[in-house]
Symmetry: C2
Subunit: 255 residues, 2 copies
Amino acid sequence: MTERKLILVTNDDSVNASGIHALVDVATQFGDVVVVAPDKPQSGMGHAITINHPLRLNEVNLFGQTKAYSCSGTPVDCVKLAIYEVLHRKPDLILSGINHGENSSTNVLYSGTMSAAIEGAMEGISSIGFSLADYDANADFEPTKYFSAKIIEKALNSNFPKGICLNVNVPKLKIPEIKGIKICKQAHAFWEDRFEKRLDQFGRPYYWLSGEFSDEDKREDTDLHMLKNGYVSIVPTLYDLTAYEKMNEFENWKL
Amino acid sequence: MTERKLILVTNDDSVNASGIHALVDVATQFGDVVVVAPDKPQSGMGHAITINHPLRLNEVNLFGQTKAYSCSGTPVDCVKLAIYEVLHRKPDLILSGINHGENSSTNVLYSGTMSAAIEGAMEGISSIGFSLADYDANADFEPTKYFSAKIIEKALNSNFPKGICLNVNVPKLKIPEIKGIKICKQAHAFWEDRFEKRLDQFGRPYYWLSGEFSDEDKREDTDLHMLKNGYVSIVPTLYDLTAYEKMNEFENWKL
């Protein structure tokens, strides 16, 4: 008999988000699940860690039989606290999400969901972030649950290369409309930022970040391209940011 | 006559840190400098952006003749606000730092200093993060000033590949002790996290992130190795996290 797997579930939308409840439903089919997730929304926190404040960790009764904790910190804090203070060992798998909103392309850098998975990869743990291209708090998570179960099953029964995590994005479509799953490249698409400048009650300006996402990447094997064409995208994602192929160019600077 | 370059300077230690004043001293030798940096320390904020709160931006008179603004957000917010609300154009160069403390190896992911530079690369701007391996608020920035001037001069007069920024770390040594500058790979070294668990005045637990950095990467061309051996390290750093070389392995999962 194989030992049951230990699976850590986290996210960036907090323990109260529907997405993490959907993911826990799936995860419990595959092993013993423990949830450690933020106590409040942490979208856009990227790979932030809390170093200048203490962290709080509280057991919460929000996931039925599944042991769960809310943490006052960021998604990356949750992963660290889970390993070192809750589980006291490395789990067999870390699942992050299901995020309310797409984390394709360069959004991987801003995403708390994906930063938790990247932190997992740094710890040598097989880690997957799941995101649904639908920002609605009441989004339909059934298609993402269906595809995430397929991916988790493969992840647990295949060789999962070290130092890499998966960035899974699911289009806002019904299951029969989704054409399949594709291994993709991170699209080189960017936010065209805008700030809304407004005045507060004292006449002092403040700025809200806004903008539009613009995809000028013409490649057809990117996550954005595949999502637009009705596929679930998976980008194998590194924590090693070295531009290996450009090292020569800088060596030629002869510094 | 060549037009003077427009240089944006930011950091994560705030407008009050000695390190950014040292970097502005250097930058003003090479062009017209504008500072947009956090109004309070933002170390460890990674690539976080502020989406759920408004941002404040205030002109500050801390850098002599150099126009400077403090921002209530993260280093990445500073870069975005600088481009879209202060400069109203992309600068020719973004310099971030000088950070009080090393940002070698996987620290690049947690570092607000380097995330500002990565954001610059995403905007298509030549960007460099500088860090000194000395956490002291009164650290000696002279060696870093000396080497950063050499690097900035080359950056402005060479082809700077798009989509890449530089992660420059300077060892805590005097100028004659530093052996030179090396183009390096990001070391695969990690924090062995620990949390100090303490009880507050009500007997409730809180946790402080702590730990030790452990380098088991045996390669001799990494930033950590070069820093330990007395060199300034430069890692060309990507925002594209795709694990191109591992895509096949996941394609073999036949999802």
